[in-house]
């Protein structure tokens, strides 16, 4: 694009070399950029900046807001009544993310590798079935899994009993030690289709001659995957990881659907999204505190921003890319 413009400009300069005329303002660029800029500014940038502005205010008993500087942030980090829930939610959120990274993405890669095997029957059927949970409403996912795992009605106990492991069954969604892990795994089950699809698409892009050459050289399927395919799809794996990170630190719906905004037992499933919701909108007798909620939202934004920047500037630059 730029080189084209430069050529045009050079040609123009050649024709009017006698009288140096100024290049006309490139209006088309403005016209092409305007819709996206407008939509993002109105629906994304403006609300973001406005919630940052809101986080600098505090309200008195009559609901009148006054400027309070960074006091909301100071309270959030130093006052034990706020800092406790905040660090708890951040820690839980980190666990939530790590479980996704450790379980969802490897399974996604493995499924994609299996789907791209050369002689696989019912490929379309598998792909559709594995992607179906991703398209279901979170409310349905939460409800279905609550029923499956329910100690009262659930089939989970029966399935374990059928293979003689009924002693392992527990009220996993109700125990402090297991509730967060269980919810993370439910979320993994729901969203595993997304890394699978992205990586499957990347695997299909790998030219057959590379694989053929490896096979001719005597590589097994395993070696082909680890030595040839995986290095070629690493940029996609990186993109999937960063999408997982952003998605997990914005997560809210599954926890809210299954455990409510109080994210029990004893806040063991509380993540940033539920902490924000409780603070901003209030819950039961707790009145909403929009300014403190905005401060939490801003911190969520900064946490996500930091993670994304680290990825872009530290990891992505070192990643090797191969021309295919």
């Amino acid at each position: 694009m730029t080189s084209l413009l430069a050529e045009n400009a050079a040609a123009g300069a050649g024709r009017t070399s006698v009288r140096r005329r100024r290049r006309p303002f490139p209006w088309h660029i403005v016209v092409f950029l305007a819709p996206a800029t407008l939509v993002y500014t109105v629906f994304s940038v403006y609300p973001l900046l406005d919630s940052m502005r809101l986080s600098l205010f505090a309200a008195d008993a009559a609901g009148v807001r006054h400027f309070a500087g960074l006091s909301n942030y100071v309270t959030l980090i130093t006052d034990p009544r706020w800092a406790g829930p905040f660090w708890n939610a951040l820690g839980n959120n980190l666990v939530f993310f790590l479980i996704h990274m450790a379980v969802q993405n490897p399974i996604g890669i493995a499924l994609a590798a299996l789907l791209s095997l050369p002689r696989l029957r019912f490929r379309q059927t598998y792909r559709t079935l594995l992607f179906t949970p991703t398209m279901l409403s979170v409310v349905i996912i939460g409800f279905v899994w609550q029923l499956i795992l329910s100690p009262v009605w659930g089939v989970g106990k029966g399935i374990l009993a059928a293979i003689g492991l009924s002693s392992l069954f527990g009220p996993w969604l109700g125990q402090e030690g297991t509730a967060l892990i269980t919810l993370s795994l439910i979320s993994v089950w729901q969203f595993v289709g997304i890394p699978m699809m992205l990586i499957y698409a990347a695997l299909l892009n790998i030219p057959d001659d590379l694989v053929d050459a490896a096979v001719v050289d005597g590589a097994t399927q395993m070696q082909v995957f680890w030595r040839v395919k995986l290095p070629l799809i690493l940029p996609t794996v990186g993109a999937v990881s960063i999408l997982t990170y952003v998605g997990n630190f914005n997560a809210f719906d599954l926890i809210y659907a299954v455990k409510g905004a109080l994210a029990g037992p004893n806040f063991s499933t509380d993540i940033m999204g539920t902490l924000f919701y409780r603070t901003f909108f209030g819950y039961q007798l707790q009145l909403g505190n929009p300014t403190m909620g905005a401060a939490i939202a801003t911190l969520m934004f900064l946490i996500i921003l930091t993670g994304v920047m680290i990825y872009f500037f530290v990891i992505q630059r070192r990643m090797q890319r191969y021309e295919l």
Binding site: A61, A62, G63, R81, W82, Q146, L149, S150, P151, V152, W153, G170, P171, W172, L173, G174, Q175, E176, K259, G260, A261, L262, G264, P265, N266, F267, Y277, F281, G282, Y283, Q284, L285, Q286, L287, G288
Partner: protein
């Protein structure tokens, strides 16, 4: 929604106006109270939608045929958040169902609820009935009280007859009863879970507690700062709650409120710690005879206390588009007719008005009869004590669930509640 809703309202208003004008021209006798327009009621009672649409609103329309009323409920846990957002945006309905105490008080203080001091018929409510919807000085009332709910225990009469059990009056008898059910082994002795947390606090702590802290006496002492949650009577309530654990079904920590309701209505559990609002649900779902007993007494022969909680009221949006029609509706909610309809269509919600209302549902009538024998009180976390951070009510949900789960001792639970209160509530320090 907003745009769609507004246009017809303006249109129907215009049609109504034309109709009224036409009527006057034709020489019809104009009604003295000719009100017209469209009203929207904000509420969290989505369970009651059918009854509002089929019974209550038609009864209102017999008196005021020109006012169109729409009952527009939100899910209970989302109601406060949704309502506040709608009010801020100016899209809330004309009539607002009021939560008790601070949530509504805050709405009034911010100018979102209108004063109802001069509403004809407001004198039909006692000061106690109004207490949840007045300013702290008692000078201004901003919602018309609708109903209270009473706590107690429901039981399956068929199971009790089969095993030859009798209603307990004391805690000792209650435990003996639970042990009998446990030994029999065919039924879950008591249906309650801790997954949703609020049942542990509401159906547990607030249900049995008043007998320990002597109802209003203890509640007022807490507000005055004379009593503390670490006092023996509060620790005893938590101890009693902790002792329920073996009698609840397997995996009760993952059992939700609907799970508990289903266990009871399917006849798999014998006893259900209840709020009276559950009666209407079981009335339609359970095919056995239900019985009810009030919270058992810690000591035989002591005075009994029940939680008779002022739970629901209705007020007017200060920015109502149709204030005259809204006031006409509120006036109607103060009448004996409304009290009669409400108490009988929704058994378990007991009218707070001074009108004598006959409750026909036998189980609901049983609950109501406890008002005569026992001294009523309201939930101790609702007035004043839930104004600060951490929120006392939410804390009570958390620790009550933990006490039953066995992850927190009764003493530690009491200490945590008191520490939370001490951190912001001045009369306590």
């Amino acid at each position: 929604m907003v745009n769609v809703g507004r246009a017809p309202s303006r249109l129907s208003g215009r049609i109504a106006r034309i109709a009224v004008t036409a009527g006057l021209v034709a020489g019809w006798p104009a009604l003295s109270q000719a009100q017209s327009g469209e009203l929207v009621i904000e509420s969290w009672r989505n369970d009651d939608l059918a009854i509002w649409q089929d019974v209550i609103i038609p009864a209102f329309n017999k008196k005021y045929p020109d006012i169109t009323v729409t009952f527009s409920p939100t899910a209970p846990t989302e109601y406060n958040a949704a309502l506040n957002a709608k009010i801020e945006a100016g899209t809330a309905g004309d009539l607002i169902t009021c939560r008790p105490f601070d949530a509504s008080l805050a709405l009034y203080q911010r100018g979102h609820l209108a004063s109802l001091n001069d509403l004809p018929g407001i004198e039909n409510f006692s000061d106690v009935a109004k207490s949840a919807w007045v300013t702290d000085d008692g000078a201004t009332v901003f919602c018309v009280p609708m109903a209270s709910v009473i706590h107690g225990f429901l039981y399956n009469q068929e199971i009790f007859e089969e095993l030859g059990l009798a209603e307990p009056t004391t805690v000792a008898e209650f435990h003996a009863l639970l042990d009998r059910l446990q030994e029999d082994g065919n039924y879950i002795p008591m249906a309650m879970g801790t997954a949703d947390q609020w049942e542990a606090a509401t159906m547990g702590f607030q249900n049995i507690g008043p007998n320990y802290w002597r109802g209003e006496e203890g509640r007022r002492a807490l507000i005055a700062g004379e009593d503390k949650f670490t006092d023996p009577e509060y620790v005893a309530v938590f101890q009693e709650l902790a002792s329920w654990a073996p009698y609840l079904g397997d995996g009760y920590s993952a059992q939700t409120y609907p799970d508990s309701q289903n266990l009871f209505s399917l006849g798999r559990a014998a006893i259900y710690p209840a709020g009276s609002w559950d009666i209407s649900v079981f009335r339609t779902q359970a095919d056995f005879e239900m019985g009810a007993f009030p919270p058992p007494l810690p000591e035989a022969g002591q005075d009994c206390f029940i939680s008779d909680h002022t739970d629901i009221a209705i007020g007017m949006n200060a920015a109502a588009k149709n204030p005259d029609a809204a006031r006409a509706f509120l006036e109607w909610t103060t009448t004996a007719e409304f009290a009669e309809i409400y108490s009988n269509q929704l058994p378990g919600f007991f009218s707070l008005s001074k009108h004598a209302v006959t409750v026909e549902d036998p189980t609901a009538a049983e609950f109501l009869s406890w008002r005569e024998q026992c001294q009523p009180t309201i939930r101790n976390s609702y007035q004043i004590l839930s104004r600060g951070e951490p929120n006392l009510e939410n804390e009570l949900w958390n620790v009550s669930a933990q006490v039953i789960n066995g992850t927190l001792t009764p003493e530690a639970a009491a200490q945590q509640i008191q520490d939370g209160l001490d951190s912001w509530y001045k009369p306590q320090q």
